[in-house]
């Protein structure tokens, strides 16, 4: 993989406080969408802020396209776009004014046609002369994205981009992120919404207590750590599980009205035919059989729970 971001032994300690980031090392591949998942205070924003230069690092190194973000900050930062979590915008400035400022700050010559393209893509062109204070929350978030894209970044950091936005805008945002990826932009997003990561990310990094618990391809992760469950709804409740079924790993649930069987998604022999045969031989009748697959959220909760214990 060609790494666009390389983090080496990154540690961040705020003044007099506990460690926010503990010796992190990882790489982000060019062109991928990576989601940073973690509970509040896990270190997601600290990590992004340190890479982008908003906070100083206590130890370690970060490289963006090979440029050290400290010693070669001009080259490194010019490749980065950042969409912060909060709606931080100057209320009296116009959309066009604030987006143009961003482009200039990142050392790019004015390019009205490029800015127009971004504003049209984000449905902001009609609002270009409107003061920010007159825009809705969703529109303001789009303005933040337009600002981050104004200097044609190669990597875009989105810090909880869909926090507090409605479902339609969230779906719009996901489409935009996919489009940007097609244009060759690497996307790093932090999110509380695990369905968001499941929907759009190529890789998942789980952060907890300043450490990366895992960083892995989303599909492989779900296959490796995901579970499937067979649910059997019985026609008549039973009080005790016959030994034959117990030996197959089946459990009673719903006060004897149903059976559950959990199996690994990776194994080829699921054991389901044997279970159905055992039910028949024991004379247990059932009304319905269905399977459920664990979501990324289930995996995430399990990981965090294990860690907390």
């Amino acid at each position: 993989m060609t790494a666009i971001v390389e983090v080496r032994d990154l540690t961040k300690r705020y003044d007099g406080e506990k460690l926010a980031l503990k010796n992190l090392s990882f790489k982000i591949a060019a062109g991928e969408i990576i989601a940073l998942l973690g509970p509040n205070g896990a270190g997601k924003t600290s990590l992004i802020s340190t890479i982008c230069g908003l906070t100083t690092m206590s130890q370690g190194k970060v490289f963006v396209s090979g440029f050290d973000v400290q010693s070669d900050y001009r080259n490194a930062r010019s490749l980065i776009g950042l969409v912060p979590q909060e709606l931080m915008l100057e209320p009296f400035e116009t959309v066009m004014g604030t987006v143009s400022l961003s482009r200039g700050l990142f050392g790019k010559a004015p390019n009205p046609s490029y800015i127009r393209g971004i504003l049209e893509r984000l449905s902001l062109w009609d609002k270009r002369d409107s003061p920010i204070r007159e825009l809705s929350g969703g529109m303001k978030r789009r303005v933040l994205i337009a600002k981050a894209l104004s200097h044609e970044p190669k990597i875009l950091f989105l810090d909880e981009p869909t926090a507090g936005v409605d479902v339609d805008l969230r779906r719009d945002m996901w489409r935009l992120v996919k489009d940007l990826q097609r244009d060759g932009v690497t996307i790093v997003l932090t999110t509380h919404y695990i369905e968001e990561a499941e929907e759009i990310a190529d890789r998942i990094a789980v952060i907890h207590d300043g450490q990366i618990l895992l960083i892995e391809d989303k599909n492989l992760l779900m296959k490796r750590l995901g579970k499937k469950q067979l649910l059997v709804e019985l026609a008549d409740p039973i009080e005790r599980l016959p030994k034959l079924l117990e030996d197959l790993g089946i459990k009673l649930h719903n006060e004897g009205r149903g059976l559950t069987y959990t199996y690994d998604m990776e194994v080829e022999q699921t054991g389901i035919p044997e279970i159905l045969g055992a039910l028949k031989s024991e004379g247990i009748r059932f009304n319905d059989v269905r399977t459920e697959q664990s979501s990324l959220e289930d995996i995430f909760i399990e990981l965090i729970k294990d860690r907390s214990v």
Binding site: C52, L54, T55, T56, G104, L105, F106, G107, K147
Partner: protein, 253 residues
Amino acid sequence: MNYYAIRAIYTFEMARTLRTPLQSFASPVISTILYFIVFGSAIGHRMIPIDGVSYGVFIVPGLIMLTVMTQSVANASFGIYFPKFLGTIYEHLSAPISPFEIVTGYVGAAATKSAVVGLIILGVSFLFVPLEIAHPVLMMGLLCSTAFCFSLLGFILGLWARNFEQLSFVPTLIITPLVFLGGSFYSIDMLPSIWRDVSMLNPAMYLISGFRWAFFGNSDVSIQLSVVFIGFFIATFLGIIWWIFSTGYRLRS
């Protein structure tokens, strides 16, 4: 050098000024006109000339300096404090800009605004008093240097301030008294000797005195001393700003 960033900050700040012309230009000009009416016309006729200059004319450099100094501090402190207050400073901290470029953009815009206000006041004063400027080029140089110098001070204040109270604390309780007591409306020779000695400790006095010298060819202290003081202040303020950016003091956590 990131010229586009300097230009973007400068243009953005000037646009803010032009959006609020009443606050930016009309307000200081009206205040100055009131000073002319009160001190120049109403009281000035009863004052004896100072070093052969009528009182109405004598106060012109002081009035310009009073406005330029206070406006420079106010413009520059607000210019950098407002992004801090709103959180939009994140963009400056994550952009490929050096501290020098940020300072040039913000301080350049603040100094431009206050220098323009100073020139407008100068133009207005011609309507009230018969004014001649002995050294116009030096006058312009000192006007721009003072605007730059106090804009640097305002920039430091804006970086330091944690809230609006702190932002107004320094101009109200330190800058304005120093400028008023620095000889804006009088020559320090008019003071009793003890207060004259105390006035020599007032840095604003050297700037006002130098500016007055550019108008009339004489002043309370020598022009060379005034120029040295301006240079000293500019160097000191630049040093403090360099330290703030190099340590991230109140900027980066």
